[in-house]
């Protein structure tokens, strides 16, 4: 392998550069990132899921340093408002609910007791949810061991700062940065592989492996290689977003909020120095101006920049790896950030790339396997996101009426059908979101099983009551004893000089 060219220097490009710089030796030739200078990044905030910690660990990044440099905050989950119906909300926490009693999942006990109306809310069994609602962050490093499987956290940060942070990391390890634009892509006539990129200064850049991080257009994977795109608009109809940062007001929430609106949904991601906001919407049901007005009418504080618009088509590239090109991030596809999976999908793409790193022969069967694994993971996340739209009772707007009635993928329909029958959650290979996640959203959006697991009837009801009461009490006690999010940030990575008026980008 002689040379890796990474096209695009956003989050995807610099994540790729950083991990490749860490893992590849000098025998692989230069790693070069071609980054167009005039494309800025907007600091509207990016929310993540717990595996991001593994990526940072693989790079050897210190978590406190990372939090400081990216204006990062702690994320315990997502609050969903108005999704199943107006005025209703639920929390999708990281980590499981409670602990398993005997051989049956705790939620089955709860489902039984729910019929007796003595159960309390299911959210009371999630440490993350209870803590998040209190604005508190349990300290996992000193926590009670018995609670460790029920607690997990991720971060919210400024993606532009994260990219910058990783750029510094990569450049310190020999990655070259070319502030250039690609004007032409040269293909090999014999097999259509990419041979070289022609840059706007006349330079011709050869490499064996090309990583397309050029964003939604996919300059290499689509522009040059014509890979094709699978459109998922029929399931995920939102096709635009408008984003704006605003000033913080009130306490720093350790969670992301997603509020369903008439033509889509609004995100709210609290950072140390401000709040990132955006409205993801469907242009069939609302104009850009109306969408921007809706967003600006629902901010915590003063907007810190002009609203910025984005267009996209939900779906994925037919292949993520085509010939000698691998697409990452938006070049690979677009899944709206409803479950904060954007960075995770980049991370998974890089994990698969390292697991299946090509040799110079680029055997097609290796690309086949890479695509099989990566596409399957992508589709399992797609199903989870579609569930949020499908499981609604809203009839107040045409978007929601459409979603309520739309046909959904068989894989998702099967999961819902199974859950409705027995309260059990089906597991597929490659599922990122597993039983606790599905339970939170299924029950959060008021899909109730017709029956609970019969095995629960073996247990003594009084004993079960006592167990559940005990679990609720332990969780409540632990959450109440935890530090407030602000205190946590101060002790774990506060930015020294907060420049809240720094409206970057």
């Amino acid at each position: 392998m002689h040379g890796v060219a990474i096209l695009g220097g956003g989050t995807a490009g610099w994540m790729a550069a950083a991990i490749l710089a860490r893992r590849l030796g000098s025998g692989f030739g230069a790693i070069q990132v071609i980054e167009s200078p005039e494309i800025g990044t907007i600091g509207v905030g990016e929310a993540t899921i717990p595996p991001i910690r593994l990526f940072n660990q693989a790079l050897g990044i210190d978590e406190r340093d990372f939090l400081r440099k990216t204006q990062g905050t702690i994320k315990l989950g997502i609050e969903f408002k108005d999704w199943s119906r107006l005025g209703h909300d639920y929390f999708h926490p990281f980590g499981a609910h409670g602990v398993r009693l005997e051989q049956v999942s705790l939620h089955q006990d709860w489902l039984k007791l729910r019929r007796l109306r003595e159960e309390g809310s299911f959210e009371e069994y999630s440490l993350n949810t209870v803590a998040a609602r209190l604005g508190r962050v349990p300290d996992w490093s000193t926590g009670d061991d018995s609670l460790s499987p029920v607690f997990a956290h991720a971060f919210q940060f400024d993606a532009g700062l994260y990219a910058e942070y990783l750029r510094g990391y990569a450049q310190a390890r020999g990655v070259a940065r070319l502030e250039r634009k690609v004007v032409n892509v040269e293909l090999r006539s014999e097999d259509g592989f990419i041979r070289a990129l022609h840059l706007d200064d006349g330079q011709r850049l050869e490499a064996d492996l090309f990583i397309d991080c050029s964003g939604f257009r996919g300059l290499l994977i689509e522009g040059a290689l014509k890979t094709g795109y699978e459109d998922w608009t029929r399931w995920l109809p939102c096709d635009r977003a408008v984003a704006v940062p605003c000033e913080s007001a009130g306490a720093l929430t350790p969670f992301t909020r997603s509020t369903a609106r008439s033509a889509g949904w609004q995100w709210r991601i609290p950072l140390q120095h401000r709040i990132g906001n955006g409205y993801v919407y469907c242009s069939r049901f609302i104009s850009d101006d109306e969408a921007a007005a809706t967003l600006l009418a629902h901010l915590d504080g003063k907007p810190l920049a002009e609203p910025r618009f984005l267009r996209f088509t939900t779906g994925r590239r037919k292949k993520f790896w085509n010939k000698n090109c691998i697409a990452l991030g938006l070049a690979a596809g677009f899944l709206e950030p409803l479950e904060s999976t954007s960075i995770h999908l980049i991370q998974r793409g890089l994990t698969h790339l390292l697991n299946w790193f090509p040799d110079r022969t680029f055997a097609p069967v290796v690309a086949y396997e890479f695509n099989r694994i990566a596409i399957n993971e992508y589709e399992r996340i797609r199903d989870f996101i579609i569930l949020h739209y499908k499981a609604t009772a809203r009839e107040d707007a045409p978007l929601w009426s459409y979603c309520r009635k739309m046909a959904i993928p068989d894989t998702l329909a099967y999961k819902i059908r199974q859950f409705k029958s027995s309260g059990r959650v089906v597991k597929y290979g490659g599922d990122l979101f597993v039983t606790p996640n599905w339970l939170a959203v299924l029950m959060g959006q008021e899909i109730w099983p017709e029956r609970y697991d019969t095995l629960v009837d073996q247990r003594d009801a009084a004993e079960m009551h006592a167990d559940l009461r005990r679990i609720r009490a332990v969780i409540r006690r632990t959450a109440e004893a935890a530090p407030r999010h602000e205190e946590y940030i101060v002790s774990h990575g506060r930015v020294e000089a907060v420049e809240s008026d720094d409206a970057r980008g």
């Binding site: 893992r23 590849l24 051989q103 790193f357 040799d359 027995s422 290979g429």
Partner: protein, 518 residues
């Protein structure tokens, strides 16, 4: 959902909303394993379990073999391992030795342990391939604690300390089959299972939906249950015969459909592994037990007659035969529905025993039934999920078995010619091609046999990868040499501290000397 679905209402019974009773048919190790598991997980007041201990038409196998997954059963039933092995004339199993599979004269081990250790997040075997090409790196076996121990006839329980090479393996068991069945029967009966010592003479179906309504026994009595579990092996009188459940035949991939077996004396030290030796029309197996060996010939009845197979078996025994040979029919496929209507078929133990998956499949099958315990008396959604998962599980194991036959270089019989040339499932074909191209193992969902097992088979049957992982070149070659040499040394030094398998049995679980056919 209506509580009984389209199941006909039964007279004389209170309308019942869920499964209150289960009848298991077939009393071998499989049936009693199922009964013991259900008895442990379902309280008698919740569900009444009966087992009809019918005499099988064919005598059962002399031995049963357990994979490391059996530890879960030990844990679940709180079985004392020493007691179990003592009463079942059992021995420890580090894996299996395969002879003559790639070519006549070849030998490899498939043991239950890890192969080497990752260096810089790159799997060990890529470094090994690299050193092999330089003519270095020693034999692959030297990097597996389990294999080194097996070859030297040594055994002890793995240690908990993660940094020790003596933690890097697991083990299964070899059991005397009838003793294992008796052991599990005792457990099941002590936990409320009713044993009915009768044969099933007829299966009555009821209503339009054709569910099993009752079993007619040879004393004229009738047994009715909400759910039936068919543990009778290849014939499957409930599922396959009475319910007419379809069957997906895999005999074009897994040609061996019979086994003839005989217990015999063995004067040598007891091995901590079984042996599978490829023969002209199938393969020969040796299962080491305390006080003897179960010797069997697994063959394709299309290529050799029963008499010839028996003669071949008897011509090459390690010691005197201790009983008359027994003939067993094997199943070479799977039911199209493992759970059909109100009957679950646990057919795993009838599948080709090449990788000892019989008890394992019974165990996962019955555990899955509890996990998906029907929420109603008849619950189509639970049945659908059960069948979906079990089908995937079987197909993964099927692929692993097929590869043993497919990746032979033997041409000394029509049997092997067929195997070498047969088409194989796409899932397996891609796996093999990937390994050939880049030395990597692609694992699919629900794969029981993990990377180390596939590697043992790939390397053991001479499938040579064209390339190793390019990332294995990142580490300096001398560091690789040092690291691999250190692994070998640590493993050898670790194994040297272990007692022999015979000593270990002597100290932990020595059985009374009894004859194996008893």
């Amino acid at each position: 959902m209506s509580s009984t679905g389209n199941r006909p209402a039964q007279s004389g019974e209170a309308p019942a909303d869920r499964v209150h009773s289960i009848a298991i048919v077939g009393g071998g190790a499989a049936g009693w394993l199922a009964a013991a598991t259900l008895a442990r997980l379902l309280r008698p007041s919740f569900c009444h379990i009966r087992l009809i201990d019918s005499q099988p038409e064919e005598a059962p196998a002399f031995s049963e073999v357990a994979l490391p997954s059996f530890h879960r059963l030990n844990h679940l039933l709180a079985i004392n391992e020493g007691d179990l092995l003592q009463k079942t004339r059992g021995s420890f199993k580090l894996g299996a030795q395969f002879l003559n599979w790639g070519r006549v004269g070849d030998r490899y081990f498939h043991t239950f342990g890890s192969l080497g250790a990752k260096l810089d997040a790159v799997p060990f075997h890529h470094y090994w391939i690299k050193l092999q090409r330089l003519g270095e790196g020693a034999d692959l076996d030297a990097y597996s604690t389990a294999t080194v121990a097996a070859k030297q006839g040594r055994f002890a329980h793995p240690v908990a300390e993660r940094r020790s090479v003596l933690s890097l393996y697991s083990y299964g068991y070899h059991f005397h089959a009838a003793s294992l069945a008796a052991y599990l029967r005792e457990y099941a009966q002590a936990h409320g299972v009713t044993r009915i010592d009768r044969n099933v003479v007829d299966v009555e179906l009821g209503g339009e939906a054709g569910f099993i309504d009752a079993l007619m026994l040879d004393d004229g009595s009738r047994i009715r249950a909400d759910l039936y579990v068919d543990c009778t092996g290849a014939r499957s009188p409930l599922s396959r015969q009475a319910l007419n459940t379809g069957y997906q035949d895999w005999s074009h991939w897994l040609p061996c459909d019979r086994m003839v077996a005989v217990p015999c004396a063995d004067a040598g030290p007891i091995a901590a592994y079984s042996e599978s030796s490829a023969e002209r029309f199938g393969w020969r197996r040796r299962i080491p037990l305390q006080h003897g060996v179960d010797s069997g010939y697994v063959y394709s009845s299309r290529h050799v007659s029963d008499d010839e197979a028996a003669a071949m078996l008897l011509a090459d025994l390690p010691g005197n035969a201790l009983a008359e040979p027994r003939l067993l029919r094997l199943s070479t496929g799977r039911p199209t529905q493992f759970w059909n209507k109100n009957c679950v078929a646990l057919t795993g133990s009838a599948l080709e025993p090449l990788e000892s998956t019989g008890l394992h499949l019974v165990q996962t099958g019955i555990t899955r039934l509890v996990t998906l315990f029907p929420v109603g008396r008849y619950s189509p959604a639970d049945i659908e999920e059960y069948n979906r998962l079990t089908t995937i599980e079987y197909e993964r194991i099927r692929d692993f078995l097929i590869l043993h036959y497919k990746s032979t270089q033997r041409c000394d019989s029509r049997f092997w010619e067929h195997c070498r040339q047969m088409e194989i499932p796409d899932t397996l074909r891609i796996k093999v091609e990937l390994f050939r191209r880049c030395g990597r193992v692609a694992l699919l969902d629900e794969e029981h046999f993990g990377e180390d097992s596939w590697l043992a088979l790939f390397f053991g049957q001479n499938i040579d990868p064209q390339n190793y992982d390019p990332l294995a070149d990142v580490l300096d070659l001398n560091e690789v040499r040092t690291a691999l040499s250190r692994m070998r040394t640590m493993i050898q030094e670790g194994v040297d501290t272990l007692p022999t398998h015979a000593q270990y049995i002597q100290e932990h679980c020595l059985a009374e000397p009894r004859r194996l056919h008893e």
